[in-house]
């Protein structure tokens, strides 16, 4: 199975027509099985949800300017931060990179004409839409107030909000990510082009492989835990009811058995994206390719064994705490390997500061801060002090927003010319990237501080001493919001008025760049073939600054 490669079947209509010209009706988009069009459907839908989730938390941040609240009741406040969590986790972050860039780029990267099961791919988008419909319904029917974690007994017995609707939405969208995972795994196993051996797969393809594995194995457990909650709520089956011998802690175990690996579902694709961006914009081979692959797999595997660190104060045995703490430290090792290798990749590079690279460099710094604060929290005594404080909030937002969203933006800008055939405005993109980095830090560094000082998360009212930090954080959120809106404007502008992009504007290696921009429906005009290792930017032992100039990117042609 491992080394089956695909003999290329030349497309019947080997013309140069791009996938965008294969039909212009809305119906042709809604019934497409082309992985590139499905990626765009996904991109549009997750963008909508990103801004809905953003508005929800924007209102929360506005409310938190005052220690006694401004305009929300506590009930509305609970519902807003809950819907923010549910939407951002399951309707933005989980599908963000895999369903958009993974769908679009992965088959091209490995030289395949499409994913293994194109109709299943379309179905996964409709599942997403189905789950999204439930979530919209929850929004209009008054929201849900359990927090995104759905902990019983509150969610199963006491909450008066629409828990079932929210759980149904998350359950359904979970099957959308399982479908994507199955598709990617089969694609990577079966549809690589001649010469594309496992150890020539670009890191982004490897990250998609590992993330698909995690999606397929973790998501069903979330589905089951939500099903059990719903069974208790709807039919009174006493699964988490202590009076019938049940244990609410079991829910937390099942929930985090998914939701901790889900953190890796969200960050691994980001690691894949920045590996592509760093190599391209530093004109360097990836430092320690084998270790990078190994680290991805290690994170995927060990990531399944650390869920208990979410439950240090939930009544878990001290022995379990010790083991989970230890394993959480272990998972930091491959993450650190990746950070060091990215840094070493930059060393002696021919670095350009185009927007994707600025976003990726932002990722590198923020991921490191997020990872190191994660180590604080993996240590039991510190976690007992910091549990449920803003320190935790700041920690995971540094990974999720500073890490994943930065990498998502890096990827969007990096592959934008390939996807649309248009060049975006480099100045505004660089400006937005820097604004986002600054806005992020102004928003979340104060949260680290106030969390450390004792400000609990999810509180509506708080002591006056924390007000200054909340005001700083809310001010940062305004900057961050502006930085998110800018790309919406200049990227849309580029669609209509942007300069036409050459096929390979970044002079990048990789199969996806060896085809027209935008690509034809069958992805390639000639049979793709791989004869070299990935990231072939310079000869071994010779950095770009001394190496073959023809492989180095001429400076400044991108802006």
């Amino acid at each position: 199975m491992t080394d089956i490669t695909l003999p290329f079947v030349p497309p019947l209509d080997a013309g140069g027509e791009s996938y965008l010209d294969e039909g212009h009706t809305i119906l042709s988009w809604l019934t497409t099985t082309d992985h590139k069009r499905i990626a765009i459907l996904y991109a549009l839908s997750i963008t909508v949800f990103f801004f809905i989730g953003g508005v929800a938390i924007g209102l929360v941040r506005l409310e938190l300017i005052s220690p006694t609240g401004l305009f929300l009741t506590s009930d509305e406040y609970n519902r807003l931060f809950t819907i923010h969590g549910i939407i951002m986790v399951w309707f933005f972050l989980v599908p963000s990179i895999p369903a958009t860039m993974g769908n679009f780029i992965l088959p091209m990267m490995i030289g395949a004409p499409d994913v293994a099961f194109p109709r299943l791919n379309l179905m996964s988008w409709y599942l997403y839409v189905g789950g999204a419909a439930f979530t919209i319904y929850v929004l209009f029917s008054g929201g849900v107030d359990t927090g995104w974690t759905f902990y019983p007994p509150f969610s199963s017995d006491y909450s008066h909000s629409n828990v079932i609707g929210a759980a149904a939405g998350v359950f359904i969208v979970g099957f959308s990510s399982i479908a994507t995972g199955v598709n990617f795994l089969a694609t990577i196993h079966m549809l690589r082009c001649p010469g594309m051996t496992w150890l020539r797969l670009p890191l982004f393809a490897w990250s998609m492989y590992v993330v698909s594995m995690v999606m397929v194995l973790a998501t069903p457990v979330l589905g089951m835990s939500l099903l059990l909650i719903s069974a208790q709520r709807l039919f009174g089956l006493p699964i988490f009811d202590p009076s019938a011998g049940g244990d609410p802690l079991l829910f937390q175990h099942l929930f985090w058995f998914y939701s901790h690996p889900a953190v890796y579902i969200m960050i691994l694709p980001a690691m894949g994206v920045v590996s592509e961006v760093f190599t391209c914009f530093a004109r360097r081979r990836l430092f320690g390719y084998g270790f990078m692959v190994f680290a991805l797999i290690m994170i995927g595997v060990v990531g399944f064994m650390v869920w208990g660190h979410h439950m240090f104060v939930a009544g878990q045995s001290p022995l379990a705490n010790l083991v989970f703490s230890f394993l959480s430290f272990i998972v930091a090792v491959p993450s650190a390997i990746k950070v060091f290798n990215w840094t070493a990749t930059l060393y002696r590079g021919h670095i350009g500061f185009e927007a994707p690279m600025i976003y990726a460099l932002g990722f590198l710094g923020l991921f490191t801060i997020g990872g190191l604060t994660g180590l604080f929290l993996a240590s039991v005594p510190i976690d007992i002090a910091a549990t449920d404080s803003y320190f935790v909030v700041a920690h995971f937002h540094t990974i999720m927003v500073g890490g994943t969203v930065s990498a998502f933006m890096a990827g969007i800008h990096y592959w934008w010319p390939k996807v649309t055939g248009k060049l975006y405005n480099e100045f505004w993109a660089q400006f937005a990237a820097i604004t986002m980095f600054l806005g992020f830090n102004v928003t979340f560094l104060p949260q680290f501080v106030m969390g450390w000082l004792g400000m609990p998360r999810r509180y509506h009212y708080y002591p006056d001493v924390f007000q200054i930090w909340h005001i700083l954080s809310s001010g940062g959120a305004v900057i961050l919001g502006a930085a998110y809106l800018m790309p919406l404007v200049y990227l849309t502008w580029s669609l209509f008025y942007g300069e036409k992009s050459p096929d390979n504007p970044w002079h990048a290696t990789g199969l996806e760049w060896q085809t027209p921009s935008p690509p034809p429906k069958s992805n390639f005009l000639r049979p793709p073939r791989i004869d070299a290792d990935p990231y072939d930017y310079h000869d071994f032992g010779r950095a770009a600054e001394t190496g073959d100039e023809s492989r180095a990117r001429p400076q400044g042609d991108a802006s």
């Binding site: 199975m1 089956i4 695909l6 003999p7 290329f8 079947v9 099985t33 395949a112 004409p113 499409d114 994913v115 293994a116 099961f117 194109p118 299943l120 399982i178 995972g181 199955v182 598709n183 795994l185 089969a186 196993h189 079966m190 549809l191 397929v216 194995l217 973790a218 998501t219 069903p220 457990v221 589905g223 089951m224 835990s225 099903l227 059990l228 069974a231 039919f235 009174g236 089956l237 006493p238 699964i239 009076s243 019938a244 011998g245 049940g246 244990d247 079991l250 099942l254 058995f257």
Partner: protein, 210 residues
Amino acid sequence: MTETAGALREPWPDLRLQREGVGLGMWIFLASEVLFFGSLFCGYAVYRTFNVEAFRIAGAHTEIVYGSINTVLLLTSSLTMTIALRAATAELRNLTLYCLAATAALGAAFVLCKGLEYHEDLKQHLFPGLHFPLSPPATQMFWGFYWIMTGIHAVHLTGGIVVVLVVFTLFKRRVIPVQGSTMEGVAIYWHFVDSVWLVLYPLLYLAGRP
């Protein structure tokens, strides 16, 4: 190869690879399903460890006759499904159709039998709630798992029956040829649903009996 037109789908270059791909995809999906049911089994194991005696008492009240008949029905359906798959690979079209019909019929018989059993259970108020007849309270936990496990299994099986009937119709009308990759995926899924029952049967019907 006769009448393979319509069997090959994008993006596969040939039918052998496509069949292998469909098999691989289905196995990966089943890995996901294993974790889905696995979290239920895990919950059952945890609670049984906490409430050994209650699970023994509650387990003695399941309808073992219905359960055993259903086990026989489902195992037989797996046999007919296997024959259907082999027949399809050997391009024996009629045998494939007969065996698919038999599989769907056995599956339907299982669901019917399960319905009778549910009726019997409800007559004895064996649904967790106010009128639950057994004690201690943790016996309700066993029956909570009983309803969820058998319910989810029945949903899977019903889905399987629908798929078998659809595939049967498509084969019958010669929309797709039997030797395509379809049978591969259908058969693997059917066997999985069957093997889940082989775990449920001892957990629910045998565990409470000496």
